[in-house]
């Protein structure tokens, strides 16, 4: 079933927020809705960019060097966010691969429709520009901070990234609403699987977190901060 942009209640979605009401039915007309299971590839590094994705529901990881030696998770994306914007620019070829972490519903908007919407809705254009500017900044900030981090700091920073992306469970606010696999945590942190296991058990020993099977319980998020005094 195709969802309608004009009646959608996702108020954080760029289309919903910044397109005029005349434009929403047009986007509804041109878009396609796609369903993915956990582990499915949405687009692959090297594929041609034919449009932009908007996440309706689910959780998605964006990976550079997928299944290669240097596999890195560059982003975790949640519902109401854009996906595939890294393909814009350059030669319109995806530099990254997107994989569903759980079953997800994703909207696809063809590139021509997307471009016309941007040109016709100045507010959309302006906010997309600011969005890309922020992405550029955080991407470059990452280079500078990751370089001087210890293994422990990298893992803590990865946990923070996961919390920022997906938040805590609604019923139990200490449990991460979604915990990626330990291998994925290693690719987010830019370290090895073994290091993640070692650091997580060290954090558990010092009473910062509890490992409950696959999921993590954060006992004190404040203390898990990256500043000097907040250190576990």
């Amino acid at each position: 079933m195709k969802r309608k942009c004009e009646t959608c209640r996702h108020t954080n979605c760029f289309i919903n927020k910044f397109c005029s009401s005349e434009w929403k039915p047009l986007i509804t007309f041109h878009k396609t809705t796609l369903n993915y299971d956990g582990g499915d590839v949405i687009f692959r590094e090297g594929d041609n960019v034919e449009g932009i994705f908007q996440i309706y529901s689910g959780k998605i990881k964006v990976v550079a060097n997928y299944q290669g030696v240097n596999e890195r998770v560059v982003r975790l994306a949640n519902s109401e966010q854009l996906l595939g914007h890294r393909g814009f620019g350059g030669q319109m070829i995806y530099p990254v691969t997107a994989i569903a972490l759980e079953s997800s519903q994703v909207t696809f908007i063809p590139v021509n429709t997307f471009y016309s919407a941007i040109k016709a809705n100045p507010e959309l254009a302006f906010n997309l520009m600011m969005f890309f500017a922020d992405e550029l900044k955080s991407s470059e900030k990452n280079i500078r901070t990751k370089n001087k981090m210890t293994a422990k700091e990298k893992v803590i920073s990865a946990i923070n990234t996961i919390i920022e992306a997906f938040g805590f469970d609604e019923r139990d606010p200490q449990i991460l609403s979604f915990t990626p696999s330990r291998k994925d945590i290693a690719s987010i942190a830019g370290t090895t699987y073994e290091t993640v296991i070692r650091v997580l058990s060290a954090l558990e020993k010092s009473g910062c977190i509890v490992q409950e099977g696959k999921t993590l319980r954060i006992l004190d998020w404040e203390r898990l901060g990256l500043n000097d005094k907040g250190f576990c």
Binding site: A64, G89, G90, P95, P122, A125, M130, K137
Partner: protein, 227 residues
């Protein structure tokens, strides 16, 4: 240069603003003539607007955790400068320095946002510009991880082509705008390594070197190193 009769066809204000707005940009910009190797703004300075290079060549520097200065971008004629400061925290994360004598126009954020609001082609261009910058910045980092000197040199050359273009479009004579020592800093490799890679590239027919000028014979081959 006067925006209402500017000869620079590469300038994005010239290209993407309605001609009615060129008077506005002329009236609101602050013109600066800056000689070679001078600082335009420094890392940590407060951001109040952005710059456009009317003519000249500029390098953008980032001091990393170890205090080492890396060139992360070069920019030429008609390109935007200082856009890395545009998002929220309002302090430049980078410095900019002229490579040769340059004329620079400064716009306050407020004035520039007015231009964006009134000129939809400009907003669209700026969005694609940031998308491109994100792409290139990550490409550069990727090459850095891979640690292949060939990829590092290829990325650096592609960035120079993108910023400065060619002195001679037909012969593909690169408008390098800096010496090889600086290029090696940009590629983040040593000077001898750069010489070796350029020699390898020449043997593979990717570049040619004539009278100290660099000719790009096979741009596709350069692209294949970085993707």
């Amino acid at each position: 240069m006067n925006c209402t009769k500017c000869p620079n066809t590469k300038c994005f204000v010239q290209k993407y603003c309605l001609s009615e707005w060129h008077g506005y940009s002329e009236h609101h910009k602050i013109r600066k003539q800056i000689s070679a190797s001078k600082t335009i703004f420094s890392q940590g300075d407060l951001v109040t607007g952005l710059y456009i290079i009317c003519s000249g060549k500029v390098k953008v520097l980032l001091k990393d955790a170890k205090g080492e200065e890396l060139i992360i971008r070069v920019a030429g004629n008609g390109q935007v400068l200082g856009h890395r400061g545009i998002s929220d925290d309002m302090v430049y994360p980078i410095s900019a320095e002229t490579l040769i004598e340059s004329e620079i126009a400064y716009f306050s954020n407020e004035d520039f946002f007015k231009l964006l609001n009134a000129n939809k082609d400009l907003s669209f261009y700026m969005m694609m510009f940031f998308a491109n910058e994100l792409h290139r910045s990550e490409q550069l980092r990727h090459a850095h991880w891979n640690k292949s000197s060939e990829a590092k040199v290829a990325v650096a050359l592609l960035m120079v082509i993108n910023a400065f273009g060619y002195k001679d479009d037909e012969q593909k004579v690169l408008d390098l705008g800096m010496n090889y020592r600086e290029l090696s800093k940009f590629a983040r490799i040593s000077y001898p390594t750069l010489s070796r890679v350029l020699k390898d590239f020449a043997e593979q027919g990717i570049v040619r070197s004539i009278n100290n000028e660099l000719i790009i014979s096979d741009i596709e081959a350069l692209n294949s190193f970085v993707s």
